[in-house]
């Protein structure tokens, strides 16, 4: 099958590759770029484990061809830590609030939360729940994920995080 040469920016670095037109973006990221933090949970756009950030939007990378990402600017979970290598506010929030268990949905969840907080820097619980409703988690029951995202929002905004009473 003929291959197409593609270039894009991933986590700040220019990358290129030769792909079939049918190659899914998630496979390009995982197989060609060897960045395996982006996961595949359903291949039908339901679970969100493959969520990455493309040109300022959350995108499920299992439902986009790699060739469609030609020239775009992509951030994956591997690009989420602070410049000094420490955990970003969101990564720290997930750890502090116990917002993950098996860790399989976590990269997609963090990537979605990253964009959500850009769209809405101080979301309410309902807004967080709606905002991550394209991402499925089987372990946590979401309650601590909501807290994790609110923890990160507070930290980014420089305000004190207060856990809502049960």
């Amino acid at each position: 099958m003929p291959k197409t040469h593609i270039t894009m920016k991933v986590n700040g670095a220019e990358v290129e590759g030769l792909v079939e037109s049918r190659t899914l973006l998630v496979h390009f990221i995982r197989e060609n770029l060897a960045m395996t933090g982006t996961h595949i949970g359903c291949e039908t756009t339901h679970c969100g484990a493959c969520t990455v950030d493309i040109d300022g939007m959350s995108v499920k990378s299992c439902t986009m061809f790699a060739v469609q990402a030609q020239g775009s600017d992509i951030t994956t979970i591997e690009g989420m830590a602070n410049a000094d290598g420490s955990l970003s506010a969101l990564q720290e929030g997930f750890r502090m609030m116990h917002g993950l268990q098996c860790g399989f949905c976590t990269p997609g969840m963090i990537m979605r939360a990253h964009r959500l907080l850009k769209e809405n820097p101080q979301p309410t619980e309902d807004e967080v729940r709606m905002g991550i409703s394209g991402n499925i988690c089987r372990c946590t029951g979401y309650q601590n994920i909501v807290k994790a995202i609110q923890y990160a929002a507070a930290k980014i905004n420089g305000v004190e995080f207060r856990e809502a009473a049960e």
Partner: protein, 806 residues
């Protein structure tokens, strides 16, 4: 002492031992996308395998033509049952004593059954190859309704069993019958029913569903022809068992099989069994000499690997007029699908379903279970529960509500009246278990007080009156559930898997600098073992949890263990960890005595080391003992500080809990709103409250899914109609209710640290709480039992059937 000397509290806190909400060590890598899951394993020259699957539920396979497939660029081989027969692997044994086709051998018995395995250079080429394999089928009549399985003229599903009147669990009554399992005193129970003032009979179904972890089942097999060694990376909840099974069925020497479970993206029972994909990938690697990866997609996961439940439970309770239960009789029709691939301890064809007397003091009970074959996927795994315990808890908790309704009693009051009392423990149940400890009434009353139970009932009465007056279209239900789990399989006297006793194990090595590694026979799939196992060790031997690395999942390095499922890790592996730590502590005490020049008996333990009794300033810390273990042990003692423990539990553990769900339902739309869900769990000693709370949240969410809509449903032709996340209810953050958690602590008297296990309790207790809430809401309209799952449509249908909707 100067100001720099840490206080006792500071020393205690530094350990981050049991009871501490220690943050998870796993999260550092998981939050950065640096976990290592099976699909992340990439080996040089690795090939990909994928399945041709049956579109039919029941058909004869007339011909498989791979000519065109082999012409597809990148396709290297097409493996069929004929290929597998050359290595005697066309069929494989199941954990339940049955056999299962690895690839279709003459016929297919369920939709999406594995028919051929295409091996190619990458996953796209494998998929191209699948599309070019031509399979000729002759459709046969499918058997879907379990209640018709034992009809005289029912189609014969398992031709391989023709003439076999005895199966792994005794006589077979019919060609589609697998086993009959009975427990309890039939005569005594029948007599109790004859004498009873009140009885009822209800068929309570627990529908077929699926554990569906976010990561599907997958493996990478790599056979080294020169060394004759097979390495398998797989999504295995029980890697050692897989190694032994591979050794037995592939006739490979067990020391040459290396099984590695890396990070696992959730299991919930789905990853206990052995699946055709593992066998085919291993055979493909042996045939091609290259590593072969097999990764299931979601549709394959939902339709072919390991369903859960599918129990149809005809339930009767005998009682006095005052509501004292006098007998329980349950018959289960268990739909096992095409092969009996239940993942239960080998001697337990219906798992521990005989916990069905629940938390109540039944003087007598009788249980019989008939397992049958249908044209559905095999499985019968414990989806976030101990073996068949969720089915049992649902059965008895629904039944107690039905009895309460019949007696006109409050369901919580009926439970309080019949609870096993604290002084009755250890309690011998009518169906053969010895409950270790419990204080049920305290837990129930705490739950009722917290949710202001009596006020809820008043509110419900008022709303019902308003509904009858036509002032509202909403109805309200209060779902009460009080479950007793049985976990921690299990004692070697009654639990084994293929003859291997269900112990578990731990090896601890302490290094000279006071750090160490613990290797454990369990395997975390998200439970956080790397965090909590170190906490047990920290408390036991005074080494900070941060200084203990926990490793699981590599069969070459971990001691033999039976893996993680059925909430067995804390009860069994957790005990092994404590016992290994205590062996180390005993040796450490001898070293400390030698160094401090006192008798061992003159030493006492103090948080993180030993001190001389009566001389609190004369101490030796564990850290210093570690160093001494490598240079100045007492004469005659071997140097080093390590220990191994294999723990064979004397009994199961019996966690329990009281759950209350408050729900409103709009009768015109069936739309429900969970107003409140309160879950009180008693799992004995609590190792990490943060992780317990997280597990309860997750288990309740899965319970919510199952009770309110999650189902593997077949149409009359045997097509799966809920085969993707579009149709299979998978709650998002929007649908998922808010959870309130609480606890009491009743330690297990026989467990070294008193812990009982908790991961699965919320699923066991949660499902009946939701279902009871729905049933309670509708009960005043005249219903006694509405089958799950309670999705909007079924709620609306119930309202319509009861005349509440025109």
């Amino acid at each position: 002492m100067n100001d720099m000397t840490p206080t006792r509290e500071q020393r205690e806190a530094k350990l981050e031992g049991m009871g501490c909400k220690r943050k998870r060590v796993e999260d550092i890598r998981f939050t950065q996308g640096k976990g290592n899951y099976v699909d992340d394993v990439k080996l040089p020259g690795m090939l990909h395998g994928d399945f041709v699957r049956s579109p039919h539920a029941h058909a004869r396979v007339k011909k498989i033509d791979d000519t065109e497939a082999l012409k597809v660029p990148g396709v290297l081989a097409v493996i069929t049952a004929e290929t597998l027969k050359t290595v005697n692997l066309a069929w494989m044994p199941t954990l339940a004593g049955d056999v299962q086709m690895v690839l279709a051998d003459g016929k297919v018995l369920f939709q999406n059954q594995e028919v051929a395995f295409v091996v190619a250079t990458d996953r796209y080429a494998a998929d191209d190859g699948i599309n070019k394999v031509v399979v000729e089928y002759e459709p046969l009549p499918p058997l879907i309704d379990p209640f018709k399985a034992m009809d005289k003229d029912a189609p014969v599903l398992r031709e391989d069993l023709a003439g076999k009147t005895t199966g792994a669990h005794g006589p077979r009554k019919h060609h589609n019958h697998i086993f009959e399992w009975t427990v309890g005193d039939k005569d005594l129970t029948d007599a109790a029913f004859r004498k009873a003032e009140v009885t009822f009979k209800e068929m309570i179904s627990y529908h077929r569903t699926h554990p569906s972890p976010l990561e599907t089942c997958q493996c990478v097999c790599s056979f080294d022809k020169i060394r004759g060694e097979l390495t398998i990376w797989g999504t295995f909840q029980a890697p050692h068992v897989i190694r032994t099974v591979v050794a037995l069925i592939a006739k490979l020497p067990e020391q040459k099989i290396h099984v590695i479970s890396p990070d696992i993206g959730g299991g919930f029972g789905n990853k206990v069994g052995a699946y055709p994909g593992y066998i085919c990938a291993a055979v493909a690697s042996i045939v091609t000499g290259k590593p072969v990866k097999w990764v299931e997609d979601r549709i394959e996961n939902l339709t072919a690997t390991s369903f859960a439940r599918d129990y149809h439970m005809t339930t009767e309770i005998a009682s006095t007029k005052e509501g004292k239960v006098t007998g329980l009789r349950v018959h289960v029709l268990a739909d096992h699908g095409a092969f009996d691939a239940c993942a239960d301890p080998s001697k337990w064809p219906a798992g521990f379903f005989n916990i069905v007397t629940g938390s109540y003091d039944f003087p007598t009970a009788h249980l019989s279970v008939d397992g049958i074959y249908t044209n559905k996927a095999p499985g019968g795994v414990a989806y976030r529960c101990s073996f068949r315990v969720t089915e049992a808890a649902y059965c008895i908790e629904r039944a107690m509500d039905i009895l309460a309704q019949k007696l006109g009693m409050d369901p919580a009051e009926l439970r309080l009246k019949n609870f096993i009392k604290p002084e009755q423990f250890p309690y011998h149940s009518a169906l053969g278990w010895e409950y270790d400890s419990g204080d049920y009434a305290t837990a129930m009353k705490k739950a009722m007080e917290t949710v202001k139970y009596s006020e809820l009932r008043k509110e419900q009465s008022a709303l019902r009156e308003a509904f009858k007056r036509g002032e509202t279209r909403e109805i309200m239900g209060v779902g009460v559930s009080f479950f007793t789990e049985i976990v921690g399989a299990g004692p070697s006297k009654n639990c084994d898997i293929l003859g291997i006793a269900m112990f578990d194990s731990c090896e601890i090595r302490l290094h000279p600098t006071g750090a160490g590694i613990a290797r454990v026979g369990s395997k975390s799939q998200g439970q956080g073992h790397e965090t909590t196992w170190a906490q047990i060790i920290a408390t036991e031997i005074g080494i900070p949890a941060d200084d203990i690395m926990v490793e699981e999942g590599n069969t070459d390095t971990a001691p033999y263990g039976l893996g993680t499922y059925g909430s067995r890790s804390t009860p069994v592996a957790g005990a092994a960890i404590a016992m290994a730590a205590r062996k180390i502590k005993a040796k450490a005490q001898m070293i400390a005595a030698y160094k401090l020049e006192v008798h061992e008996d003159d030493l006492e333990w103090d948080i993180d080391g030993f001190r001389v009794k009566g001389l609190p300033e004369k101490t030796m810390s564990m850290k210093d003992i570690c160093w001494a273990a490598y240079n100045s042990v007492p004469p005659g003692m071997e140097p080093g500080l390590e220990a191994v423990s294999y723990y064979d539990p004397p009994n199961m553990t019996y966690p329990f809990g009281a759950y209350i769900c408050v729900m409103n339902i709009d009768v015109d739309t069936g739309v429900y709103k969970v107003r409140r869900f309160y879950a009180l769990d008693d799992c004995g000693t609590r190792i990490n409250p943060m992780i317990i709370e997280g597990q309860v949240h997750g288990g309740l969410t899965e319970a919510f899914a199952i009770a309110m809509g999650q189902e593997i449903r077949y149409d009359a032709d045997g097509n799966v109609v809920t085969g993707s996340f579009m149709d299979f209810f998978m709650p998002t953050a929007v649908e998922t209710p808010h959870w309130e958690t609480d606890f009491t602590v009743t330690p297990s008297p026989h467990h070294p640290i008193g812990a009982k296990g908790v991961g699965e309790s919320p699923n066991v207790g949660g499902v009946p709480a939701f279902s009871n809430a729905v049933n309670d809401a509708f009960s005043f309209l005249g219903s006694t039992h509405i089958q799950m799952p309670h999705d909007y449509w079924r709620n609306w249908k119930a309202a319509k059937d009861l005349g509440a909707v025109a």
